[in-house]
């Protein structure tokens, strides 16, 4: 009897928190489609509203996560789904594999080196520094790498979102400043620098830019996850 109560309680937690999360996600997407200000992005509005609700009803993150963990699990099949955009861009890879792989490799090294170096320079703690390393990767990869190298994936998630939101805005400014001649380089700037948010911005600039950005974002993630896995195995 009490076992049944417990289970229906868990089900209720899942139903309520999932419904709240999905509802505000959809709502903020509609808002953003109408007014495209960065602060109306679903990346900003939905978490802020959900956090406000959690605080106002006196719930805590553990309970919330228990109710919505299944959404995080779907990041796994999302990685499998990335095979489709990569396959669709096979012609782009064939023509520009050298430029793209060099850009992805140097961009990734720069991301890791600046996160490490600046964190040391500013005296951030070890945990923050480690969690900061994967911040330029898109979310499924970043959280994976973070746990591989001993960071806190949920702190990494916050840094990843900040990188995306700030990066999309910074990227637009950088595109005016840098003398880039190719759509390839403009797409790489946004896709490597600002992952998913950069890809959205790149699609606003042009379809080739968007296509390149989507591809390099996945390549950055793949290279780093495989690298992070090797690193984790080396430690064991």
């Amino acid at each position: 009897m009490s076992q049944d109560m417990l289970e229906s309680d868990e089900l209720l937690t899942i139903l309520i928190w999932s419904a709240i999360t999905i509802a505000f996600y959809v709502f903020s997407k509609v808002l953003y489609r109408r007014w495209s200000y960065w602060w109306l992005s679903p990346l900003v509005v939905a978490p802020v509203v959900v956090i406000a609700i959690i605080l106002s009803v006196g719930a805590d993150y553990r309970e919330y996560l228990q109710g919505t963990r299944w959404l995080l699990v779907l990041l796994g099949p999302t990685m499998v789904a990335f095979a489709v955009p990569v396959f669709e861009r096979r012609e782009l890879i064939r023509r520009h594999w050298a430029a793209l792989s060099l850009g992805v490799a140097l961009g990734s090294v720069t991301a890791l080196a600046t996160a490490w170096g600046l964190a040391v320079l500013l005296g951030l703690s070890d945990v923050l520094r480690t969690s900061m390393l994967p911040r330029s990767m898109s979310m499924p990869f970043a959280m994976e790498v973070s746990s591989d190298i001993g960071g806190f994936p949920e702190i990494t998630a916050i840094f990843v979102v900040l990188t995306g939101v700030l990066g999309a805005a910074l990227g637009q400014i950088m595109l005016h400043w840098l003398p880039l001649r190719s759509a390839l380089a403009r797409g790489a700037l946004l896709g490597i620098g600002a992952h998913a948010a950069g890809v959205v911005k790149a699609h606003e600039i042009g379809s080739e830019e968007g296509s390149v950005a989507g591809l390099v974002m996945i390549l950055v993630g793949m290279i780093n996850v495989i690298g992070g896995g090797v690193f984790a195995l080396g430690l064991l």
């Binding site: 499998v80 489709v84 720069t110 979102v161 990188t163």
Partner: protein
């Protein structure tokens, strides 16, 4: 090959039409990837193993693009929803509203600018180099 020669079966037709069925197929491949990654302890997540399997099947035409595209597009375009629960963890980290949070912002802004400059200039220089060398190799 067999599928192309035979009339499209009902199951195949439904798969091409249904985003949900395609999403199910992708979840299936992810589970296979997880099983493989855990069995041989590759050090890479099941999602990446599933990605490699799916890419291989698409390249060899064993799986047609139409039978997974709608599902895959759905997963990729709604990715934001899937990681929202991780971002909400901010509720437990009030410590970021401080000088430390400001330093974090500084690292992210400076780091992101460097990444953008390095990757965009690298790609652009490579592109210009290959564009200027292309005519000579065109005849090969």
């Amino acid at each position: 090959m067999m599928m192309r020669n035979n009339p499209v079966t009902l199951a195949h037709y439904l798969l091409r039409q249904s985003r949900l069925a395609q999403a199910g197929v992708l979840i299936g491949f992810w589970l296979v990837g997880e099983a493989i990654a855990r069995t041989i302890d590759l050090g890479i997540p099941g999602g990446v193993v599933g990605f490699l399997i799916m890419l291989g099947l698409l390249m060899t035409r064993l799986v047609s693009l139409q039978s997974v595209k709608r599902g895959a597009d759905w997963f990729v375009s709604e990715m934001l929803l899937f990681f929202l629960p991780a971002v909400v963890a901010l509720v437990d980290h009030g410590e970021f509203v401080s000088l430390m949070g400001l330093k974090v912002l500084l690292v992210i802004v400076a780091g992101t600018l460097s990444v953008m400059v390095v990757s965009a200039l690298t790609v652009d220089l490579c592109y210009r180099w290959s564009a200027s060398h292309e005519p000579r190799h065109a005849g090969e």
